[in-house]
């Protein structure tokens, strides 16, 4: 039974996302469109199966939702901070810095989510990954204590992602 389920839905989350996106694209919820979205959500993952070799294992959806809300809140707060820096700090007093975040995450999906989170929260941009994927290069707009920023990224985001993708 589970094997048949796996054959039909190799990527259940992708199926769910495709169905939801299709329904949202219609801009109105009708039963026919939901069914058509589910059909697309089943067909598209099957057709693109060879490009998705691994399924991320042990993904915790509930924790991901709470993580998303935390990130959205951080984006709102930090946007105001960056706007303040842009308007008040002159170029000569700006202290940009490169920081290197050593990664404990190993899964590509988890590292992608972390890099995206770092870029979306204002004040930091993830710029590059080391060639073996063990550290992430982050650019900070204005900081006097680069180590504190690194520790905050590690404790606030990476620790939670380790729980989500465990």
């Amino acid at each position: 039974m589970t094997r048949a389920f796996r054959r039909l839905l190799p990527h259940p989350f992708l199926t769910l996302i495709l169905a939801v996106v299709w329904t949202l694209l219609q801009n109105e919820i009708s039963a026919g469109m939901v069914v058509f979205g589910i059909i697309l959500g089943i067909i598209i993952p099957l057709m693109t199966l060879i490009w998705w070799p691994d399924t991320p294992k042990g993904f915790r959806l509930g924790k991901m939702v709470s993580y998303s809300f935390m990130v959205i809140w951080d984006i709102l707060v930090a946007n105001v901070e960056v706007a303040w820096i842009v308007l008040t700090v002159p170029n000569s007093k700006l202290k940009p810095a490169w920081i290197v975040v050593p990664l404990e995450l190993r899964q590509p999906e988890a590292i992608t989510v972390l890099a995206g989170t770092i870029t979306l929260t204002p004040g930091t941009v993830s710029a590059d990954l080391s060639d073996e994927g063990h550290s992430l290069l982050v650019h900070v707009l204005h900081t006097s204590d680069a180590d504190a920023v690194r520790d905050e990224i590690k404790t606030r985001y990476e620790r939670r992602l380790l729980e989500i993708f465990s």
């Binding site: 890099a115 204002p122 060639d131 550290s135």
Partner: protein
């Protein structure tokens, strides 16, 4: 009737906040002088700016009585794609040495952008005859 008026005020307020943030993003783009610091202003402030403009559009469509949820989708795609374009611009900046060269990573050899391709892979077509 009061709900209508409240909705109009909400639309106006979100439009004001959104355009304010977009304006700050543009000021940042013009003001900063280094490619990496320039990257910060538009990619970040833009997300909330555009988010508030989309929120205004949503509230207005609900006020007019026909629901529109496309905006959630726009927001989702924006949040997924914005970091990737920022990442690529940063990579180009590092590659061209347009900015300060970053410190080398502690454990691995170098940053993937700066890594020079290995010559003897045999994947590139060789010049023949």
């Amino acid at each position: 009737m009061t709900a209508q008026i409240l909705a109009i005020y909400a639309v106006a307020l979100s439009l004001l906040i959104g355009s304010g943030f977009v304006l700050v993003g543009v000021i940042g783009l013009l003001k900063f002088d280094d490619p990496m610091t320039r990257l910060h202003a538009p990619t970040k402030v833009g997300t909330v700016g555009i988010g508030m403009l989309l929120l205004a559009s949503m509230i207005n469509s609900f006020r007019m009585g026909d629901t529109s949820i496309h905006e959630i989708l726009i927001m989702a795609f924006l949040f997924v794609t914005a970091p990737i374009s920022a990442h690529f611009i940063a990579k180009v900046g590092i590659h061209h040495r347009a900015c300060e060269t970053p410190p080398s990573p502690p454990r691995d050899e170098t940053w993937s952008t700066l890594k020079s391709p290995e010559p003897d892979q045999g994947t590139e077509p060789t010049a023949q005859g």
